[in-house]
């Protein structure tokens, strides 16, 4: 499964990407909305984009609209450090796509699978012991 990970916190992106890669996901990391658009415009294909809601420049919600235009099949999951970013008005189904920071990696993996209807697909490590965290 190809994931586009967008967050302005570089170290966080790096760590999360490595953990996802360990779990068999193919992750592309970018740090701004502009970069993300650029990557997709250049023809890269992603199953799902994991977006930080609050970013300098183009925020997660706006970026989603732009990306959706470029690739109608792309799914979206949001990360938020701001509890208030989750919009109660979006309904239960949509609300499930908002994951609060700090997040549990298993929750993210579950949501990603649910959203795309796919498993990681890549060759991951055996992290069964970690399941418990």
């Amino acid at each position: 499964m190809n994931i586009l990970l967008v967050d302005d916190e570089r170290k966080f992106v790096t760590m999360l990407a490595r953990r996802l890669e360990l779990r068999g996901f193919a992750v592309t990391c970018v740090y701004t909305g502009i970069e993300a658009l650029k990557v997709v415009q250049e023809g890269a294909k992603f199953d799902v984009a994991v977006l930080d809601v609050k970013m300098p420049g183009i925020g997660g919600i706006e970026l989603r609209r732009e990306l959706q235009r470029l690739d109608g099949d792309m799914k979206f999951v949001f990360l938020t450090g701001h509890g208030s970013d989750r919009d109660y008005s979006v309904g239960a189904k949509e609300a499930a796509l908002y994951l609060p920071k700090p997040l549990k990696i298993d929750d993210l993996v579950d949501v990603l699978s649910k959203v795309t209807g796919k498993t990681a697909g890549g060759r991951g490590e055996n992290l069964s012991q970690i399941k418990s965290d």
Binding site: E9, K11, F12, M15, L16, R18, R19, L22, L79, G81, H82, G83, S84, R86, D87, Y88, S89, P100, K101, P102, L103, K104, I105, E125, N126, L127, Q129, I130, D133
Partner: protein, 585 residues
Amino acid sequence: MDKLKANLKSLYPHFHRQSDEHLNPYYTFQDYRQIWGVGIFFLMATALMPLIAMTLICYQLVNQSIDTESLLRAERLASNSRRAVTFFLEERLAALTFTVNEMGYERLTDPSRLEEVLRNLKLGFGGLTDLSVIDDSGTQVAYAGPFNLEGKDYSRQPWFIECQRHNACVSEIFSGYRDVPHIVVAVKSMQPEGRFFVLRATLETERLIQTLSSYKTGEHTDIFLTNREGVMQTPSRFYEGKLNRLTIPLPTYSDHTEALIASDPQGQPIVMGYAFIDTKIAPTSFVLMVVKKKAGMMKVWLDLRSNINWLLIVSAVVIALVVFLTSSFMVNKMFDADREKARTMVAAEQNCQLASIGQLAAGVAHEINNPLALINETAGYVKDLFTIKEQYRDDPELIEHIDSIIETVERCGTITRQLLGFSRRFDVQIQPINLEKMVSDVINFHKKEAEYRDIAIHVDIPATVPLIETDRGKLQQIILNLVSNAFQATDNGGRLAIRADLNGTEHVRLTIRDNGCGISEEHLNKIFEPFFTTKKEGKGTGLGLSITYGLVKKLHGDITVQSKQGKGTTFVVTLPIHTEKGFNA
């Protein structure tokens, strides 16, 4: 009846019971008792001063008019009686003059003619005792009357000397040879050869005294005659002293009637009218005195004054009562309004505090969440690596430490999430909500716990409670928070009652009552403050109720709490039935 009681209560001062000390700094006025006292003082002063002033002025005026009136009356009485006395004397002098001129010396010295004249005069005027003719040497030459005093020498008598000088005379009242009080009146007449003679008559004083007495008015009035040296000429009821002397000072001479206010020997005020009596024909030494005791005339006024005093006292008491009640009522009202204001201000301040703490909390939470996320991922990655590498995977201590970091981060995350919940700002999605359904949904969450802990849940939401337009998520969270709270406060086997009813036409009231441990009074006004908790450290963040409070406010509602330690707690949430769509909280 209750209304009357409440009204009566509001007339009684209750403002001194400033029991809520935390309200004190918010009162506009600090000392209501002082305001009340000063108010009563000034109102009383304003009402009573004119009344008292008017009364005093009235006293003054009445006193003055009494003085004027009594002086006038004394003077008038003196004037009238003077005229009577003068007329009495003048009439007799005139009769003698007529007789002398008509008869002449020769005929008057004829004893039988003199007797006839006396008889005629007695018939015409009365009061004459005798009649005599005295020649210029002072020797009595003819006499008619009961005493035969022929040949008696009058040349040294003062009235004879007086008569030579003024052609006529009126003597003082004296007893003379016969020891009977009488007045001698005499007129002088010239004979053709140039010698003179005197016709003398003795007058009884009885007639004169009677005349004077007839002018007496009232028991306090005294009318009498003295001579110019203060020797009594007719009897006086009150002012006759030893040796026939007048006991009050004789006024100075005046040629017409006068009146003045003086004091009697006892120091009592008297009104005195007087006249020095002179006839047209001859002067006399009489002084007519009219004396009235002022106290006697004052009696009517004193009675009136006592009535006025009573009226004054009763008016003052009524005014005092009305002023007291009015002041109490006003100051009570003022105090009540002020207390209400103070309460509102305290509540407003608390709201303000909550809001600013919320903003601060949100800011802190935002800033902390990102580093927390980084710690979380880094620790997670390290754990991932350890799990992959065999030499670490079997070291349980390492994994345990990492887990501990992750767990702690999670705890921090919970706190920041709650902090954010406290000040959450997002659009409110208004939709019609069935309160009964929502409550039963929430209770479903707790069904297992209720069964397990044997807690009875009573829900009473009548069908009359309408659908309310509000935000589903927020209302759900409010009810969930309050029900969770109640569960935490209630012991096993306790009871929880949830009731809803209409509050007026615009609001619905949701009451959640438990019979749990209750909240102590000192904690009661802090429970909506963030971070306030009575739970053990680490067990509660103290944000639950402050979040609930914020949510209720966002839904334009109100939340209140009543609690008694050991008896239970009741939360009452009031929510508007209609909320404008698209409003931003």
